[in-house]
């Protein structure tokens, strides 16, 4: 089986998922003794191609179109290269940019699409494992077709290492500029503000389990008692209860404190992406099956409205009324 995987880069750097795709692609190609092709579109393609020449990679295609990601260009370029390479499986990252072009590519090529794969196998038939209901269940879907597109969850495969002497080929995708109807005009960093949660040694982190804005005072009091920094999952920030710079996760900050106390946080994959590097993880959550417990070192399976006040009191503090 021939596999074609599309690398990702941003602002001059290849993103980790590119090397993870190489591993996933190699595993899949190995199942049938096939070839693994990678492609990189835009930016410093030659330099990127050298770096993408990792173990297991047979060919790296460079498509020298634009500096940064543009989905109109990517969609055309990937479709054109697909027609040239004729792979059985097309792998793309399940990143934010992946979400912005993979479905269009699949639609244009009439390929069945399975997104956010956490495992892929093939014994002639492609089967893809993915999660449903916020990680509460896993599903396996089989793709009964000769060709398919799959997007791969970042962080699930180890990055490919080493070098392989892959063949590097330039590909002219002949982009039709008249069909490019979106323009990337720049980038903006968000966050900043009063604290940098990525610097904190101890984080008290609050999630949707807190229910109401007024109740934030309770976790604030705990953070004060522990001399810790307050952070949160996304819904708390979306609700405007804490500023954006407090958000831990894929689109927020990556944190690596000594102790991370997750209070009323389920542990969605996008949250975990930001805190899995914490040294000690404590979870307070009523649901013993919440995915956060897969990572936690210590857990209190109980109501935060009972546990947090008791914890404040255990250190001689006075919990606020909520």
């Amino acid at each position: 089986m021939t596999v074609l995987a599309i690398a990702e880069h941003r602002r001059g750097d290849l993103r980790d998922v590119s090397f993870e795709l190489a591993t996933a692609g190699r595993e899949l190609a190995d199942a049938t003794d096939g070839d693994l092709h990678l492609a990189v579109i835009g930016g410093a393609v030659e330099e990127f191609a050298d770096r993408l020449d990792r173990e297991g990679v047979d060919v790296v295609h460079t498509i020298d179109e634009g500096e940064e990601f543009n989905h109109d260009v990517y969609t055309q370029a990937v479709a054109a290269l697909y027609d040239e390479v004729e792979p059985d499986t097309l792998l793309m990252p399940n990143s934010v940019n992946g979400l912005d072009y993979a479905p269009a590519v699949a639609n244009r090529l009439s390929l069945p699409l399975v997104t956010d794969a956490i495992d892929i196998e093939s014994d002639g038939v492609l089967s893809v494992t993915r999660e449903k209901y916020g990680s509460k269940v896993e599903t396996v879907v089989e793709v009964d077709a000769n060709r398919a597109a799959v997007t791969v969850r970042p962080g699930e495969w180890p990055p490919a290492e080493g070098t392989n002497g892959a063949e590097i080929q330039e590909f002219d995708a002949e982009i039709d500029e008249s069909t490019v109807h979106s323009t990337v005009t720049g980038f903006q960093e968000v966050g900043g503000g009063d604290v940098d949660i990525s610097e904190a040694d101890v984080l008290v982190s609050v999630g949707r389990g807190i229910e109401e804005e007024e109740n934030i005072a309770l976790v604030e009091a705990l953070a004060d008692t522990l001399d810790a920094t307050l952070s949160s999952s996304r819904p708390i920030v979306d609700n405007g209860w804490l500023p954006k710079n407090r958000q831990v996760g894929q689109s927020g900050k990556v944190v690596t404190p000594d102790v991370y106390i997750a209070i009323g946080i389920s542990g969605a994959v996008q949250h975990v992406a930001g805190m899995k590097g914490a040294e000690t993880i404590v979870a307070i959550n009523t649901d013993p099956n919440a995915p956060i417990y897969d990572l936690a070192d210590y857990g209190v399976v109980d109501d935060l409205f009972d546990v947090v006040p008791a914890l404040i009191e255990a250190f001689g503090g006075e919990p606020p009324e909520v």
Binding site: L113, E138, V143
Partner: protein, 264 residues
């Protein structure tokens, strides 16, 4: 200007549940408006409130039960709703991306909107692909994971922010007509007012089957089949503190002292 908003009802699984064949047993599922769609509705309704002539229409692929969810949108200001369902879709469990995109494309072709809004993903299946597939299917421009929208009715370009990973946003100009997939946090979704809820009762929810939108059962054909559904084996090796909340808190306090978080 006409705005079409794809709204879906999602199932949430209770903490304790059982699996029945290839699905979570229905009694453990609660149905609700998809979180991301709530923000998409708000984005549409805000555009309507600018004062120009803007019609906001929602479209849902879902059984009769989903009318409750659809009414939530109507109560928040959506003008009218379309609900597509068909016996051929019954029992499909999980509709493939192509099926959904084909159905929504047929509705979009009828309605001829200037702007289509969807959520980034639906909370249950989390495929995250419907909006962009739809855009490509109907030949609209698009942007995925939009968390800031600068558009006035009548403009032919929308300036959006796309929320990338790691606290970085991409600024992009998108030519209309376009599909935007809306990220949570882009706005503050309103609560439905009592008046809105009352008004919603008299707004139209047009039920349509596949034939009504010019499709037939072949739209459900998909090479993708669900073959397994199971609870993942827990990888948890967490030490769980036991006892009353006070006892649990004491053990946790000891741990935090041990770790040097708190002295003494």
């Amino acid at each position: 200007m006409k705005i079409l908003i794809a709204v879906t009802e999602v199932a949430e699984v209770e903490d304790d549940f059982e699996i029945d064949g290839l699905a979570v047993a229905d009694q453990y599922l609660d149905y609700d408006l998809n979180e991301w769609d709530d923000y998409a509705i708000e984005a549409g309704v805000q555009l309507q409130e600018v004062g120009e002539e803007v019609e906001v229409v929602s479209v849902t692929v879902g059984p009769e039960r989903s009318e409750e969810t659809i009414r939530m949108g109507l109560a928040k200001g959506v003008d009218r709703a379309i609900r597509v369902w068909d016996d051929a879709l019954e029992g499909e469990g999980q509709l493939g991306v192509e099926t959904k995109a084909d159905i929504l494309a047929a509705v979009a072709e009828d309605e001829d909107p200037d702007l289509v809004l969807t959520g980034v993903q639906s909370n249950d299946d989390a495929f995250g692909a419907t909006g962009v597939s739809l855009a490509d299917e109907i030949g609209f421009e698009w942007a995925a994971v939009v968390n800031d929208l600068d558009l006035e009715p009548g403009d032919d370009v929308a300036s959006v922010h796309r929320e990338l990973e790691g606290g970085v946003e991409e600024l992009t100009d998108v030519e209309l007509p376009a599909v935007l997939t809306i990220q949570t946090g882009i706005n503050e979704p309103r609560y439905a007012s009592l008046r809105g809820i009352r008004q919603a009762q008299s707004k139209e929810i047009a039920p349509k089957d596949l034939a009504d939108i010019g499709l037939d059962a072949s739209v459900t054909e998909s090479p993708i089949t669900l073959t397994q559904l199971y609870e993942p084996e827990t990888e948890s090796d967490a030490t769980v503190f036991e006892g009353s909340p006070d006892e649990e808190a004491d053990q946790l306090a000891d741990l935090l002292r041990d770790k040097g978080v708190v002295e003494g």
